[in-house]
Symmetry: C3
């Protein structure tokens, strides 16, 4: 079912993350900071969480990628996100936007749109968030999606064209589009929805992947496969959501070519 070229791209991305250990600057929410940092470390990247207005521009300038996640917002943080994104754009440093909870409040939707206007390399959300950012219906229940991924594909394509970015919609089947190509990934496990912030981890891992892969569609697909395969391996070992969270980190560190060949579902 998988496209061999895409699977080969995933192999290449994983190898380069481990060799280069790219520094990934994250401005992300309080809930997932520890897990996000550990997911990046487990994959082989070097994470740093830095948000002060006084240093975000300096820090992003020495980083290989930036990840901006609006899960827990406040005005000072939004300013820092914007400054970091602007500087990333100026320096040609790839960056990923995760519009957590867009659609739930006007503040979240507006913040997500203002950041999107700064032209991230990749926008990653669930279907509800992508629809909300695009100005379409599709209620967000808190931070969880109530819409299916395919329902948001048209909106994603339009966003990709308008902002020159790649859009990732995660769900039972994940979608990646740059407005021209559409890639799908079927990896993952339903138990992953019972652990907080695994979507945020995918965004962080996408940051590590865009740091080492210049095609953002391939980089995004790689992040989805790597996170999804790790989730499947972890789910086979886990007894519930608590152990799943732990096993995912172990699985990310243990990912190898044989696992990817056996499990990758990307087309």
């Amino acid at each position: 079912m998988s496209d061999p070229q895409l699977v080969a791209a995933v192999h290449g991305v994983l190898a380069r993350v481990r060799t280069a250990a790219p520094l990934v600057h994250s401005i992300t929410n309080y809930v997932v900071m520890n897990n996000t940092a550990n997911a990046l470390l487990a994959l082989g990247a070097s994470p740093a969480m830095v948000h002060a207005l006084e240093e975000v521009e300096d820090f992003v300038s020495i980083s290989s990628a930036l990840v901006v996640n609006i899960g827990t917002l406040s005005p000072t943080w939004v300013s820092a996100m914007q400054r970091a994104a602007v500087r990333a754009g100026e320096r040609g440093i790839p960056w990923v936007l995760d519009p957590v909870g867009a659609g739930a409040t006007a503040y979240r939707t507006d913040t997500a749109r203002a950041l999107l206007a700064l032209r991230p390399t990749v926008l990653r959300g669930n279907a509800s968030e992508v629809l909300a950012v695009a100005g379409e219906e599709g209620a967000t229940k808190g931070v969880d999606s109530t819409a299916a991924s395919d329902a948001a594909l048209d909106a994603a394509s339009r966003l990709a064209h308008r902002y020159g970015c790649t859009v990732v919609i995660t769900g039972a089947v994940d979608l990646v589009t740059d407005g021209a190509r559409v890639v799908r990934c079927g990896n993952g496990h339903p138990l992953m929805t019972r652990v907080t912030g695994l979507g945020c981890s995918v965004s962080a891992l996408t940051g590590a992947c865009v740091a080492v892969e210049s095609d953002p569609v391939h980089a995004s697909a790689a992040a989805l496969v790597l996170a999804g395969v790790a989730g499947e391996v972890a789910a086979e070992r886990a007894r519930g959501p608590g152990s799943l969270q732990v096993e995912i980190l172990d699985a990310l560190a243990a990912l190898d070519g044989a696992m990817l060949d056996a499990r990758a579902r990307v087309w």
Copy 2:
């Protein structure tokens, strides 16, 4: 030893949390955000951590319950807690107050009292915190209690009458009172005191329970039994506090009627 009516209430609350998956808005401390969100997800609720002044009122308005926890305070956060609590009161959305560390500093005690004046549905603290909020002696050592639960029962009854709320005192035996009824819960395990923020998790789970059960005494008792039984199951599997934290999440997700019948100690 258990009261069959109370045990039946716990069964009903668990079933309704899993069916309704209530959105629980938490304004809580940095230390426990990840674990609190995961505890809510493991039980079957839908957590969201939102604290910006710009959106707390919007967010609480779409939520089924609010949890306010003062573990890591600052003035902006206190303002957000107050606005969210006022809006919850206006909309008839039940809310839970956790006065972490009340008694340790004047700032904490004053903040807890100002929030209590906004009339939460449930106040949950350890004995030292409840005594401090009530203006009585009982030293708090940092954020840990130095007093026994029963010593705080009179203070709890007075607070319940004065503020029209239900008060929960957690300890070796937990107490719940609305000033008229007193319910006790004996579930839990001593190793739980070696994991940070499990009291905060109980407050969060109480939020999920008051979202689906209109009697706050029953809702509070249900949260105590569910958390306590999960803790007991987890302690039998754990080798120490690290694995206990993981096992509790697995156990919350695995709770079923047979476990509750076999283990609930509530009267």
Copy 3:
């Protein structure tokens, strides 16, 4: 290979932490708050994370030690760190400074130096951070060191003399110096570098140790041995970085005299 007197000091420190359960006030970064609190609880100390300007001075005054960690900075937090450090100095309460990421940005380096001027009891960093604080070359890659510990020993000695503090440089072999004595610790495991914030945990545990041991060189060495031995025990049980993080907490709680005698490498 170990110095019996130093091993005896470690035994004594562990016993006193467990007996006294010292209250350790931490002003630390968002990424590690949960793990740091759990590491302190697992060892037997009583952690509290408190950062509001309105209460840091009150809180440090009732604490047995203070830990200041600049991992996630902002101006308000820096002010709180300074106030708490000044008060700790006035009251003779020992405190530990962890200059996370010093050298990565000017803001971080300047903040670390301003705090160091307040004369902590112990400064703990990796080699890059210590070199950066001392004003010497040695690039910091984000928050990870690129220099070896011994390369920073001269800088550490000078800092120790200038600020009257003990300096700890963690790495494959850890170094402790007060400018006169030099102690080395060889405990630990390479997998520990794949878990975020274990250096921060060492700083926190150093806080617990200086609370019960008046010789900061002995206290620092004890923290290194305790964390390192726990890491080794955990690494033997772990399947990867996720389970390592869990196992370290279990191992800290399970540490006993026999384990220390068998494993301590301190000289």
